[in-house]
Amino acid sequence: MTTEKTYTVPTMADMMAAGDEPEVLFWVGCAGSFDDRYKRVTVAFVRILNHVGIKFAVLGPEEACTGDPARRAGNEFLFQMQAMSNIQVLNGYNVKKIVTACPHCFNTLKNEYPELGGNYEVIHHSTFLQGLIDEGRIRVKDGQSFKGRKITFHDSCYLGRANKIYEAPREVLAALDADLVEMKRVKANGLCCGAGGGQYFKEPEPGNKDVNVERVQEALATGADTIAVSCPFCMTMMSDGVKNQNREDSVRVYDISELIAQGEGL
């Protein structure tokens, strides 16, 4: 117990009770809250927020699904029920700025909530991390070296094509001083992981192969030993694809925030 750091996760309710307001609300998302693998991403991001001393809060038990999968599957009623309840909560706490690690939550909160009365500055954690790097608040290169490691980045549709964020996650990875190798289909031409539009929640339709297998084969073709993602669904789909290709011993899938946390020794 020499230099054990203690990380805190304040909730909006705590903050409000203390008459305080956070700089930014961290919207964890359902995957970040419940998915065992993605919970580690949530933890990594919280540690980064603690590390750089950003005053943040989470909704905790008051958070609910944004409604994205329901809406895209066609259930507009359910989406709007979720959206309006969430907006009531967010507006009740006078939330101004939101950061989230989930591109689906990001897209919905940013593009689809305003029409229903929810107007916030919404930032994806890749952009947020890039900001911290630009400001010099994160300096991975001083820490653990990623030199020589080949990393490839899988674009999430809802971050990339949907919102034209291609560079932020790449710049975050560039801070690792690793060898960033690109796949054949990247950025605007990136191939979906196969989970969007509600696909994650059902079996795929019959075909020759699953989308995530196709994508992982493309990722493996780069020779990278690390596949970096910035979306919980991409995380699962890529991890499953790696297992499908029997490469789970040599190839790892990480969220960009996990790589930063590793680099910072958090």
């Binding site: 919280v46 038990p61 609910a64 359910l78 979906c192 075909g207």
Partner: protein, 467 residues
């Protein structure tokens, strides 16, 4: 002789114009079956997009070589229209190279440009035929894509062959005309010294060296007529063809989506219902006379202002429920298949093909048009886009990744149609796959798509200080 030709020419022009007008009216009527939606906001950005994507062909240059080839055909098409102006006036007035004496200094330059373009178009059409039938570009093969079975491949072949014939007619016409001018025959000879030989057709002159004057005049007339009649026939044919994109591509881009690709359109009618359910003040204004943005008219409003058969739906079952822009998209689609080639579902062998979604939408519209022609314009059949053309399996395979939208050179949005049809299946027919229904009920009851207790949502926080 001249007078007869002039009469025939004007008659041909009138017939073509009559057919084109009729077709344009029919297509406009079909597009207007769609629900109204305002797409005139942000004219600045719309014009910018049109200049870049339509006139500038920005998205065609994703593949540089194909981009350049398409640009040659496109430039040829636009610029050769100037030459057609002269041809038409010559045809009506019975003159020969009407503009030559008036714009003597630039006339040869202009015709040289047209000739180079014509030769370029000719060469590119040959390459395009080769890509289809020899190199067998995957997205253009009917064996791989069932939506291409039928008229699509013959349509492409007809267009490319017709363009080749038109360009050959144009170039050999210039060549035979040059030889007649050299020989000083009739009114051709009048332009001796005014009109020189041209860049490409000068090399074709030897072909005509052995022709008698009479045979040469005959060839000149036949090629002239072939060229212009070909163009007129093409103008009519285009209205039946996927090649209609040469006209509709421009408005299609102008009226394309400006919002982020990931944003799904809101349904204000649903908003109102949800606000009522949650006991919130109702903020949306139901607009009964105009179908709102989202596939239905509010229930309350329909009773007052709309006739019963106008009662809207949640989502879209048929083309009538889609927006007019979706229908214009369908008529603008060239069936190039870049959307399908980029579609993750299609790449991995699933039935979904965004190109098929667009072709189905147009096929459905054409079926309705045929119904009008045989049974009058109020005719409605029992079929619908969903079910008779597009199946649930196709719809369910979509990951909403927007690759199709990104890939389309003229900003067609197949995803919008897919999502509207999904809404109909889920909200009107309750026909979601069972696991989606489970996901819905999890969200409804547990506020997450998985069956976890909402009270466990914050449990992860215990991990932050674990090693």
């Amino acid at each position: 002789m001249h007078i007869l030709q002039q009469i025939l020419f004007v008659a041909a022009l009138a017939v073509a114009a009559w057919f084109v007008t009729k077709r344009v009216k029919l297509i406009a009527r079909a597009i207007n079956l769609g629900r109204p939606e305002d797409r005139t906001d942000n004219p600045g950005e719309r014009w910018r997009t049109t200049l870049l994507v339509a006139f500038g062909q920005k998205k065609m240059f994703t593949n540089l070589l194909v981009g350049v080839m398409h640009f040659v055909i496109y430039a040829g098409f636009i610029i050769i229209n100037l030459e057609i102006l002269e041809i038409i006036l010559d045809g009506i007035l019975g003159t020969h190279r009407l503009f030559a004496p008036y714009i003597t200094p630039i006339y040869p330059f202009l015709i040289n440009v047209f000739e180079v373009l014509a030769f370029g178009v000719l060469a590119v059409c040959v390459v395009f035929l080769t890509r289809r039938f020899v190199a067998r570009v995957s997205r253009l093969q009917a064996e791989r894509h069932r939506e291409l079975r039928g008229f699509s491949i013959p349509d492409a072949t007809i267009i490319l062959t017709a363009e080749i014939i038109l360009m050959i007619a144009f170039l050999t016409w210039n060549a035979s005309d040059s030889v007649l001018r050299d020989r000083g025959v009739g009114y051709y000879g009048d332009l001796q010294g005014v009109v020189p030989d041209f860049l490409i057709s000068q090399y074709l002159k030897p072909l005509f060296a052995g022709f008698s004057d009479t045979a040469l005049v005959a060839y000149e007339r036949v090629s002239w007529w072939l060229h212009i009649l070909g163009i007129l026939a093409f103008a009519v044919y285009v209205t039946y063809s996927k090649h209609l994109h040469i006209a509709l591509g421009f408005p299609n881009v102008y009226f394309s989506d400006l919002q982020p690709k990931g944003e799904m359109q809101n349904m204000p009618a649903v908003t109102k219902e949800v606000q009522l359910m949650l006991g919130l003040p109702v903020t949306t204004e139901p607009d009964g006379s105009q179908a709102n943005d989202n596939g239905m008219q509010p229930a309350e409003a329909t009773s007052g202002e709309s006739t019963p058969d106008e009662i809207g739906r949640f989502g879209a079952k048929d083309v009538y429920d889609l927006k007019w822009i979706n229908l214009m998209n369908a008529y603008s689609c060239t069936e190039c298949g870049r959307c399908t080639a980029a579609c993750p579902a299609n790449i991995t062998g699933k039935k979904l093909s965004p190109r098929k979604i667009m072709m189905d939408t147009r096929d459905r519209l054409e079926e309705i048009q045929r119904g009008w022609q045989t049974n009058g314009v109020d005719y409605k059949d029992e079929k619908s886009l969903l079910g008779d053309y597009i199946t649930a399996e196709e719809l369910n395979a979509c990951t909403t990744c927007q690759a199709c939208i990104n890939a389309c050179p003229i900003n067609i949005n197949p995803l919008d149609i897919i999502l509207q049809l999904r809404r109909y299946r889920v909200m009107e027919e309750s026909q979601a796959p069972a696991s989606w229904n489970a996901m819905f009920s999890n969200i409804e009851n547990n506020m997450a798509p998985w069956k976890f207790s909402p009270s466990d949502r914050f449990n992860w926080a215990e991990m932050v200080n674990e090693k």
